[in-house]
């Protein structure tokens, strides 16, 4: 039972990090209807900047720099690439983001090389024991930070002018535009927020018990795609639930891999994708996604 609780807490913590990534993905989709396959590379940008600067300027400023850089890179992608696309076909724009992803990831992986970079977080490998349950400090920090950020985002989304503009644009971009909402600013904002959230996620994906930021971190970040999709691409609630489902699945598959041995080694890597496919079979638009109703 202790093991189960530990696994669930771990899963929730990792899941909240996936939720951060998935949330950014969903925000971009809501604001611009573009699926951002370059999301994993934004995350890598943030993590890399944090890793490079933390020795010189300290952990928190480095994290801020990472968030800022990822946000700026996100805005540049929107401004320099997507806005110039001569197509209104969102499928084609999605493929453009794949091109951007190849560019960014190749360059970052080249810089990282075979190193494993430390992000200089203050928690190290200590853990907390409470009522017989041992949880690494990093996991608690991840859960807390993600909860705070997500809450702040949802409040801003609901109550600030920016959030109202964003929701209006997502609801009906043409009408919103006629009402004086600058769509270009809304989508720039979406990319910036998504980049910053991804940079925070980069931190928590690479802290203990993970060894650090390396060339495979972007593959880990890919798990946010099933998170975003199984919750429903256009639903912020869906991103949260999806993130938690993926985190829990992964954690339980790792924890019980001895019992699940018949399914093969490395089950935790593939389990989230299997869960996603099963959920999509039952609900093709995800758990909370808007169903497109058409009748012929």
């Amino acid at each position: 039972m202790t093991k189960f609780i530990e696994l669930v807490v771990n899963g929730l913590s990792v899941g909240s990090v996936y939720a951060l990534i998935a949330l950014g993905f969903v925000i971009i989709f809501k604001a611009t209807e573009v699926v951002n396959f370059a999301h994993a590379s934004l995350l890598l940008v943030g993590g890399y900047i944090t890793a490079v600067f933390h020795d010189d300027i300290g952990f928190l400023p480095a994290l801020a720099a990472g968030m800022l850089t990822a946000a700026v890179v996100g805005m540049l992608v929107e401004f320099l690439v997507l806005r110039r696309g001569r197509t209104s076909d969102h499928g084609v724009l999605a493929i453009v983001t794949i091109g951007v992803d190849i560019l960014l990831t190749t360059e970052l992986v080249r810089r990282i090389g075979t190193d494993v970079l430390d992000l200089g977080d203050p928690w190290g490998s200590q853990s907390v024991t409470f009522a017989g349950i041992t949880i690494p400090q990093t996991r608690i920090a991840a859960l807390l930070v993600a909860t705070v950020l997500i809450t702040a985002f949802l409040l801003a989304f609901r109550y600030t002018t920016w959030g109202v503009a964003m929701r209006a644009a997502a609801e009906d971009s043409e009408t919103a535009s006629l009402m004086g909402i600058k769509l270009s600013r809304v989508s720039l904002g979406a990319w910036a927020v998504a980049g910053a959230l991804a940079a925070v996620a980069a931190l928590f994906l690479t802290v203990f018990p993970t060894p650090g930021l390396d060339r495979n971190t972007s593959l880990v970040a890919l798990k946010a795609f099933p998170a975003a999709i199984l919750g429903g691409l256009d639903s912020t609630t869906g991103a949260l639930v999806g993130g938690l489902i993926v985190g829990l699945t992964e954690s339980l598959a790792t924890g019980y891999q001895d019992q699940l041995h018949f399914l093969g080694h490395g089950l935790s890597g593939v389990a989230p994708y299997v869960v996603m496919v099963l959920i999509l079979l039952a609900r093709p638009a995800g758990l909370f996604g808007t169903r497109e109703l058409t009748r012929v």
């Binding site: 699926v35 690439v81 110039r84 696309g85 001569r86 197509t87 969102h90 499928g91 084609v92 724009l93 999605a94 493929i95 453009v96 794949i98 091109g99 951007v100 992803d101 190849i102 560019l103 190749t106 360059e107 080249r110 593959l219 890919l222 795609f225 099933p226 975003a228 999709i229 691409l233 093969g264 080694h265 490395g266 089950l267 890597g269 593939v270 994708y273 299997v274 996603m276 496919v277 999509l280 079979l281 093709p284 638009a285 995800g286 497109e292 058409t294 012929v296």
Partner: protein, 357 residues
């Protein structure tokens, strides 16, 4: 639309094929192998272009079906021994069965593919890559896990696609690569011809209508679900055939090759070459496959490209950066890809000639 006279097109085609048939008599092993990769990629890309380009079904899982073809062939063709299992069928039968198997797996996945649209489908097919990698590394008796498994050479009875027995034509020894080259070329011509027939005929129009407006397609009497499933199966079979050829060229299949990077490569091929056309897929496949090889071969003479590990861009990295940029540039500046650009140039030239007359 402007088209050259029939005799011009046919003689250009004949000249092209004749030129390709001469390649093995002049090219060295490096270029033979690179060329074979390009031909295999062209077949796979034609399949993906039917699915993604012509029908608008985003697939990030093409590499998985290539793996099914490659490993299917190895499984059907190899004899069982202490380590591995296999059926030991005659190799041509194994090759055909491997292509059918890829189609069957595509058919099994098509109920999922049929229910999902756009991005949902794209990311669901991403799952295929990871599930595929999981199976490849765990089903050791079939796939040989990370060490891979040896591929038996194709044996047509009168001709074995291997280095022995020796075969010398016009003083040029024709080894495995040279012999495979002719086979692959024939398969490419057939694949391209079939795909062209599909795209130019009634099914092609139906597929394009599904891409452009699914509801309109349904209203006009196109059985949307059936077509979507059928094109998924067909595209998987193309990938399976490409996988079989790749396995024969590699002679040893390894799971790592069939990962997400390969799947993205295939998407890049059809975008750069031109979405929805056979020629576009082939141009893109040649571009993406040969670019790293060319950069590797001539890295000494190129600025910025350096040997791996020396701090500069390795040829593989340089190639990825170039084609990442090419994907972005093509969508921004060249809708229709390289093939579309070629068509526009021809149209412009024809219009000018027309005015002059």
């Amino acid at each position: 639309m402007f088209e050259s006279p029939r005799w011009v097109r046919i003689s250009a085609l004949v000249a092209g094929v004749a030129l390709m048939l001469l390649v093995p008599f002049y090219a060295d092993t490096f270029w033979m192998q690179a060329g074979l990769f390009a031909i295999a990629a062209a077949i796979g890309a034609i399949g993906l272009n039917l699915l993604t380009g012509a029908t608008g079904q985003l697939s990030l899982g093409h590499a998985f079906f290539l793996a099914v073809g490659a490993y299917g062939y190895v499984y059907f063709a190899s004899e069982s021994d202490n380590h591995f299992v296999g059926l030991g069928l005659p190799t041509p039968v194994a090759a055909i069965l491997a292509v059918l198997l890829a189609g069957l797996v595509g058919g099994i996945f098509s109920p999922i593919a049929g229910r999902l649209k756009g991005t949902y489908l794209g990311i669901a097919t991403l799952a295929l890559i990871f599930i595929g990698q999981h199976i490849l590394s765990n089903a050791e008796s079939v796939t040989g896990s990370h060490n891979g498994r040896q591929v038996p050479p194709l044996d047509l009875g009168f001709l074995v696609f291997d280095d022995s027995p020796e075969l010398v034509v016009a003083n040029v020894p024709l080894g495995a690569f040279e012999r495979l080259w002719f086979l692959a070329l024939i398969l490419l011509v057939i694949s391209a011809w079939v795909a062209r027939g599909v795209l130019r005929g009634r099914p092609g129009r139906a597929l394009n209508t599904i891409r452009d407006h699914e509801i309109a397609a349904g209203v006009m009497g196109v059985p949307v679900a059936r077509y979507r499933a059928a094109v998924f199966v067909l595209s998987s079979m193309y990938a399976g055939l490409a996988g079989v050829i790749l396995a024969l060229v590699f002679r040893q299949t390894v799971p790592d090759y069939f990962g997400i990077i390969l799947a993205l490569d295939y998407l890049a091929m059809i975008v750069i070459g031109g979405l929805g056309t056979v020629a576009g897929a082939m141009i893109g496949a040649v571009f993406i496959t040969l670019l790293p090889q060319v950069l590797t071969r001539y890295s000494d003479g190129l600025p910025l490209v350096a040997a791996p590990g020396s701090g500069g861009f390795s040829p593989a990295e340089a190639a990825r950066i170039i084609y990442g940029a090419a994907v972005v540039a093509v969508v921004l500046f060249l809708p229709g890809g390289l093939f579309g650009m070629w068509t526009r140039i021809r149209l412009a030239v024809a219009a000018r000639r027309h005015r002059a007359v």
